[in-house]
């Protein structure tokens, strides 16, 4: 039973991650390869506050999200102005910079040694989430709330404008819209919610190290997004997260040795991704086209 709850919690974390990625890739047509970097920044900043202060969850979450959002502004302003490939390169570079910092700045991040003993989240500063049942319930609620938030955004005038920019940015500009700012907002929101997932992850697993926040992880998240589907429906990202979280568990039931299982899983995802790009580039449940 506990095993199933664990899967459920990881699923919720990935739902939040993939939903956040859909904001940039699916809605604003900005292909990012640095979601894991924001995920990691959220995890590490969250860890700092969880270990140093006795604050309620909501406060820590807001701090983490805001701080991560601010780091996103560093790269988004420049990259968002430039043509697609430069944006990808910028996010790629950012991902590698963050990983290098997490790995090498041993004084602050403990580098490859990792940070153990991360305390649990305290709701309202008093109730500590100690059991896995509590974490499960909490993360499900959070995932549902986040999904509702994104759904609302997608159907708002802002979401409509993102769709317009996605389709024809030049026309949107000559209709008086500051497309660069609007795209930067999308990037900001995406970073913010990725960091929220990082916070939950850090406190649930209670140990973090840089290997969870590599470029491979960014690619993994993008793969999940494309499998599920990009665009203006929240079900795409949810299904995508479900596929990538549950599939490896099914594989391990067949009894493959762990090392090979990881690689095999990655090979399967790679093949799925290629096949999808041929026959259904918007993903299983997606409704947007990559430009």
């Amino acid at each position: 039973m506990e095993y199933l709850l664990h899967i459920g919690i990881m699923l919720c974390i990935y739902i939040i991650l993939v939903l956040s990625t859909n904001m940039t890739v699916g809605m604003a047509n900005l292909l990012t390869l640095c979601q894991a970097a924001f995920y990691g920044i959220g995890a590490y900043i969250g860890t700092y506050f969880l270990m140093q202060f006795n604050l309620p969850f909501v406060v820590i979450a807001l701090i983490v999200m805001l701080a991560t959002g601010l780091t996103s502004i560093v790269i988004s302003y420049a990259s968002v102005k430039l043509k697609g490939d430069y944006f990808i390169l910028g996010t790629l570079g950012f991902q590698m910079i963050i990983y290098t910092i997490l790995y090498n700045w041993i004084d602050v991040t403990h580098g490859p040694y990792g940070i153990p003993g991360i305390p649990s989240i305290k709701l309202f500063g008093v109730w500590s989430l100690t059991s896995i049942y509590a974490y499960f319930f909490f993360s499900v609620v959070l995932a549902v709330v986040v999904a509702l938030i994104f759904s609302r955004l997608q159907h708002s005038p802002y979401g409509r404008m993102l769709k317009a920019i996605h389709t024809d940015e030049l026309s949107a500009q000559t209709l008086g819209r500051n497309t660069i700012q609007l795209k930067s907002w999308a990037f900001f929101i995406s970073a913010t919610f990725a960091s929220l997932a990082g916070l939950i992850y850090a406190s649930y697993v209670s140990y973090i190290d840089p290997t969870s926040f590599t470029l491979d992880e960014s690619i993994f998240i993008i793969t999940a997004l494309f499998i599920g589907g990009i665009g203006s429906r929240v079900w795409g990202p949810i299904v995508g997260a479900a596929v990538v979280v549950i599939l490896p568990e099914l594989l391990s039931l067949i009894g493959l040795p762990n090392a090979v299982a990881d690689n095999l899983r990655a090979v399967i995802y790679g093949i799925i991704l290629i096949v999808l790009m041929f026959y259904r580039p918007q993903g299983l449940l997606g409704d947007a086209k990559l430009k």
Partner: protein, 288 residues
Amino acid sequence: MIVQFVINGVISGILYSLLAIGFALVYNTTKVFHIVAAAIYVFAAYMFYLFTATFGLPIIISALVAVILTMGLSLLTDVSVYRPLKKRKASNNVAMIASIGMMTVIINLLAMFFGDEAKIFDSNGSPFLLGEFIITAKQMWQLVIGAAMLILFLLFISVSNWGIRFRALSTDSMLYETLGYNNSNTRTMVFLMSGAFIAIASCLTVYDRGVDPHIGMDVLINAIVAMILGGTGRFGTCILGGISLGVLQALAIYQFSSNWQNAVTFILLLILLFLRPQGIAGYKQRTV
């Protein structure tokens, strides 16, 4: 003392240039962000290792075999994925995602087959002394073969028929087709050459540093930054960018430590993105 570092920097810069050329050949002509180049790099390295360590072939033969096999793999990525996608009018971003997919498949298959631990090559040959500066035997290989390939490439791209066609295709692919040049023959040449350069860069590098499944992306990003630094949209500028990057990194290592070598790359990347996206000698790109 610092000159020693600069020498090392020039040599590693030559290796960046080779990989940058391998990437730029595909990127400039097809406009696809050829991320699978990282996997092609790793493939070449493992083939080199396989034929040297496991089959015991002499180094030169091994390298040649690795280069030929890699050229084949490179062409395969075009024929099996990029070209069919282009026929379906898929956008460049879709091709890039497919490229990421290919990269994942190739690297993980290699990891499954060869294992995750690093493999190294035996060292042989004594170092060369240039006055008071040392160049190791392996570095000598890198320097001589690398520089020779770069010079050959410069000649090729400026003077030969194919070179001119590559440049034409990079500038205006629609015009290129309407002028009657066979796009798919040119693409074949592009991918074969790209594979060759990636393989040469890879073999020369891993001969010195060893191979594990994860070396690809890191070195590719360095090569891409080198390509942009030198100048976008052109081929010869990869050499300028590669060597500049190598020297800058060497100076950083001299000043700080080797941990922050990659920091140079990324800071350069940010500077280029913010201030000068076309690099030193590149063609200006339109925004939006």
